[in-house]
Symmetry: C2
Subunit: 420 residues, 2 copies
Amino acid sequence: MSNHPRDPFPAGGNPDAHATGMPVVTVIGDGQLARMMQTAAIEMGQSVRLLAGSAGASAAQVAADVIIGDYTDLDALRGAAEGASVVTFDHEHVPARHLRALMDAGVNVQPGPDALAHAQDKLIMRERLRQLGAPVPPFTAVDSVDDATTFFDDVDSRVCLKARRGGYDGKGVWFPGTREELIRLVTELLGRGVPLMAEEKVRLDRELSAMVARTPSGRCAAWPVVESVQTAGVCTEAVAPAPDLPPALGERAGELAVKIAGDLGVTGVLAVELFLVHADSGGEARILVNELAMRPHNTGHWTQDGSRTSQFEQHIRAVLDLPLGSPEPVGGTTVMANVLGADTDPDQSLHDRMIEVWNRFPDAKIHLYGKDWRPGRKIGHVNLTSDPGLGGGVPELRRRARLAAHYLVHATWADGWISD
Amino acid sequence: MSNHPRDPFPAGGNPDAHATGMPVVTVIGDGQLARMMQTAAIEMGQSVRLLAGSAGASAAQVAADVIIGDYTDLDALRGAAEGASVVTFDHEHVPARHLRALMDAGVNVQPGPDALAHAQDKLIMRERLRQLGAPVPPFTAVDSVDDATTFFDDVDSRVCLKARRGGYDGKGVWFPGTREELIRLVTELLGRGVPLMAEEKVRLDRELSAMVARTPSGRCAAWPVVESVQTAGVCTEAVAPAPDLPPALGERAGELAVKIAGDLGVTGVLAVELFLVHADSGGEARILVNELAMRPHNTGHWTQDGSRTSQFEQHIRAVLDLPLGSPEPVGGTTVMANVLGADTDPDQSLHDRMIEVWNRFPDAKIHLYGKDWRPGRKIGHVNLTSDPGLGGGVPELRRRARLAAHYLVHATWADGWISD
Ligand SMILES: Nc1ncnc2c1ncn2[C@@H]1O[C@H](COP(=O)(O)OP(=O)(O)OP(=O)(O)O)[C@@H](O)[C@H]1O
Ligand SMILES: Nc1ncnc2c1ncn2[C@@H]1O[C@H](COP(=O)(O)OP(=O)(O)OP(=O)(O)O)[C@@H](O)[C@H]1O
Ligand SMILES: [Mg+2]
Ligand SMILES: [Mg+2]
């Protein structure tokens, strides 16, 4: 086209999927986080290229520029990065040495491997956070059965054993009840070459999540602190803002997340998973950091319908070093309930289940990831934002979100409700 | 996968782009409306197939299942419809006989050709609306120069000449100032085979838009009535809800849109473009219908950031006969300003222009369509929702939205603002 300035972002991959003058964001990963980053990017006129494991995966299914390959294969990473304005991730499992190789070749990787190390390895994370003065549970490296049993005694048998790397959704987290169980576990895991650490099993009141976005130039924006509910290690629910949180505590949690983002040089979205604990004597509430995620996070899904800027839009803006959007909530409270595959897949089609849920709860915002059913699999989430017109407050909102999410996978109403 | 019910929506086209158990929505068209329908569908776990004119077009650029073809070619339409749960549109230009052929072959077409006729042909629309008792300006068919000049006298030379079919953005609308100009225009246009009509050139105070969605089962949801601003026939701005609209008038406009949707059997989103007029003597305000659009509409873009349910999500839900979402606004007022290609394309990249706009207006929601620059071309829009914290009310919101949209194509601030 005549009179057109030179494209500052020349496209590699599928050039048809690329708008002139706009960045190409390569996302390593093909899950729901990549899928939702993509819709956010498209709305801003940008294009996303994926490095996906398969063409039918959640994000790959709906993407126009997909490279099929393995994220542990440097050549595949190189191909996906070609011509990209920035490379980012929907998980933390890309080997650091590969990211360094990309950076050496001039690729803009956000977040970088030095920051990512603290989301990849729970021991490195704990050590660094302690060094920064952030509150963490007592912990130790476990390189031998001896390390584990000594720690077991130190924490009065309240032990939580963790795989240092690769865990998610509670896979890689164990709570051995006895010394014998601990010894058995550690022997088996170390024998299989799984690097381990142990920490105190915290007497937690609730779990919180403090989420921020940070740009390479150091701009930060923090969403309100969220309460998250884990069931068997899997996030099932998030309530934003966290109900009945002492304001000072919420502020401290937000500041802590901003400080961690800055100190570790995080770019994009950072989720700081927190434990809320009371001192044994019933003293003042305290927060402890559980772990860090450097990407959009399950506890941030509420932002799609409950905040001026969704975590997916914000992540894209942050890794591109664009000014950040407002993290303000749009309504009162937003509840997010995860849609987790039931033990069996009902005969009723997912489409018909959506109809039933919307007939009962017209205000449910249903997000689905295009994933086939598997027991326990995250296949979607439901957001509900409080409406001044609806009674019952936050507990009622939570009840409704849970009922909706339950119906979507069971095709039954957990409270026995029957439509007329 | 074992234990999986039979897919009620088997995929044609690209089966990788299709999630089991979920509908496939075929959209005929490749513009920004199709692009934004698609992101909405993806969030609900659905898949969209496009019949697009080219692979680089706004929607095709970002779609995983694209059939390149001509929407006037029945075979192309047949291919795009294969295996689709429903066929819908991002424009009204598909020939009715082709839609009837699809329906005869069992394809679910929404909206159907009988409804669409009233969005395709302005004379058919006017005649039908008059028959329904809806308020319309005086009008006539123009099959000869005589028809035109007789009407010219009837309306005291206040004439508006329109192509019956195929117009958009004011192309196909003329306001001849003199009898001679009218004769010249009509002679030329009829000579070129353009079917014409004429109507009174209305003394309009403002333009409004009443938007509703309707499902095949007859459910309806109406958004608040919007004020729309046209500049040289092109929509440049929309304010939702329309400021200072007498509530009774807003209600009447909403009811009228619901009635039209029902009477014409419209499915999906319907926009009823309205003129607000005062009686000559300064009497009571009245509304007149200008025209109908049966698809998401420019005056509904505000819903993406200002309503619980965006018009794109609602259109998809409506054509699939799903329960409709809430059309309630989420904030106070939302202003939408169109981003229209300037006469020349500035050297600063579009990406850098976004940065500048966000630096000045962090709350601007910028939507871009992935389109290359052309003078006057709709390449995006900006939404701004009022924030109780920001002074100046709606006029200030409008000023800011206009400034942002202007910067995005001119790379200059229309008010001379200089960042520090
Ligand atoms: N030290 C601890 N004390 C008590 N409970 C814990 C402790 N560590 C983890 N948990 C529980 O197990 C859950 C999962 O732990 P963690 O977040 O470390 O695992 P993960 O597999 O990495 O999960 P994610 O899906 O969040 O990545 C926590 O949310 C919490 O409910
Ligand atoms: N009868 C009329 N009297 C006065 N102004 C009119 C009249 N008809 C049209 N206009 C002006 O011209 C604009 C475009 O007219 P119309 O909506 O019929 O054209 P269009 O090309 O189909 O536009 P669209 O892009 O909305 O499809 C209107 O929004 C209005 O501003
Ligand atoms: Mg965790
Ligand atoms: Mg019009």
